[in-house]
Assembly symmetry: C2
Homo-oligomer: 236 residues x 2
């Protein structure tokens, strides 16, 4: 145990978040339709992974809960791989308690109500089909609404295609989180799969900080520093 403590101390860089525990979610979720089909979101996980990396560099002990992505694990971060929204919520609960939680994953709002164990067959003659969807648990609202063990700072993401700040402000109030990082994901902004991000940080109903277009690494660094300034260090 002493050796482990020393190793951990050596591995984690000292910084303004030394001694702080942070949860980050990243990537899409995959909601199974049957053994070979699923519903997915266009999320590369680049932004969430960059945030986990930036927080770890500032000394935080980071748990990254991630859906299926084609990205390497950020160094010095504990990574938990999941598929569906329900799995992601369970992994988030298991990571508590934390000082801050950043929900950057693109979680599917809907799952297939009754996913089939066997592959669905095309019915000859049937030209249409309906897929019944059920609402997934809302991870951001669930963690924001915890009466016991709520993180001191809960940060949500909003991917919007229109009226970005207005929709994000509504979302902040509806979910009960502290901050919303709002992404413009209209085709014109080129956020999904790309390396740049146009972001507004909504930290209060009248507290909106619009950042210039930045790389996802730069967005991550700014956000990590702002989290550090808000939480302060637990190390002293």
């Amino acid at each position: 145990a002493i050796l482990e403590a020393i190793e951990h101390h050596l591995a984690a860089p000292a910084g303004p978040l030394t001694g702080r525990r942070v949860l980050v979610t990243s990537g899409p979720t995959h909601e199974p339709i049957d053994p070979v089909r699923y519903i997915a979101n266009r999320s590369s996980g680049k932004q969430g992974h960059a945030i986990a990396d930036a927080l770890a560099r500032l000394g935080a002990e980071v748990t990254l809960v991630t859906g299926p992505v084609a990205l390497p694990d950020p160094p010095g971060v504990r990574v938990v791989a999941v598929e569906s929204a329900r799995d992601m919520l369970e992994a988030c609960r298991a990571a508590l308690p934390v000082d801050a939680a950043v929900f950057a994953a693109a979680v599917a709002d809907w799952r297939v109500a009754a996913s089939a164990d066997q592959k669905l067959k095309k019915q000859p003659g049937a030209e249409t089909m309906t897929l019944d969807l059920a609402q997934n648990p809302d991870i951001l609202a669930t963690i924001s609404g915890l009466t016991e063990g709520r993180p001191a700072l809960v940060v949500g993401f909003a991917a919007e295609t229109e009226r970005v700040v207005e929709h994000a402000r509504d979302k902040r109030a509806r979910k009960g989180c502290d901050w919303i990082v709002a992404n413009d994901v209209s085709a014109a902004a080129g956020t999904f799969g790309g390396d740049a991000n146009t972001v507004h940080l909504i930290a209060g109903s009248e507290d909106v900080d619009s950042w210039p277009p930045l790389s996802k690494a730069e967005v991550a660094e700014r956000l990590a520093h702002r989290i550090a300034a808000t939480l302060g260090s637990a190390a002293s």
Copy 2:
């Protein structure tokens, strides 16, 4: 033009398929629900890409029409990247005429009937939703049924979770293709995303060749050699 002809001659290895044109499809298709969501299939594209590679090594001029995959382009193969089933069919038609066509892609049977231009919003209070699906064009049946310009050899794939050979034999008759390569994709067989494949080649209603578990590269090589034996060389 003379230089191009020489370059092509130098680039393509001489082999039993020299002078033959082959079309291969690979990967999943992505069918958009809205700008951020889509329906996908669990297909890595490993098998289709390996087949394109094996055919090119035997001297064929290969066009590979592929859905979104995280794989490098096989060397010496013309690669056409597509997203949806309808795009894939269009790219296949554009690749004709060919001597043989191998349809290894996991094409979505269904697309969303009316995909939304704006991101769908979760409606407060709505616990369920239905997604109306319309049947996609059947690429294998369409190309198999061409009266003009049908490839001499059309090979389909069948991914089955149960009664593999029986379902594949039915599919061969229904689609009008010449051969079916039937994959056992039950969870137990571990085909999707993995490197090994358990395959039955159905080349006639009574002509079933069950191969031992092989790597996807070995399946590709066996199939390419069998295609070469059937077509013969056009070079002589």
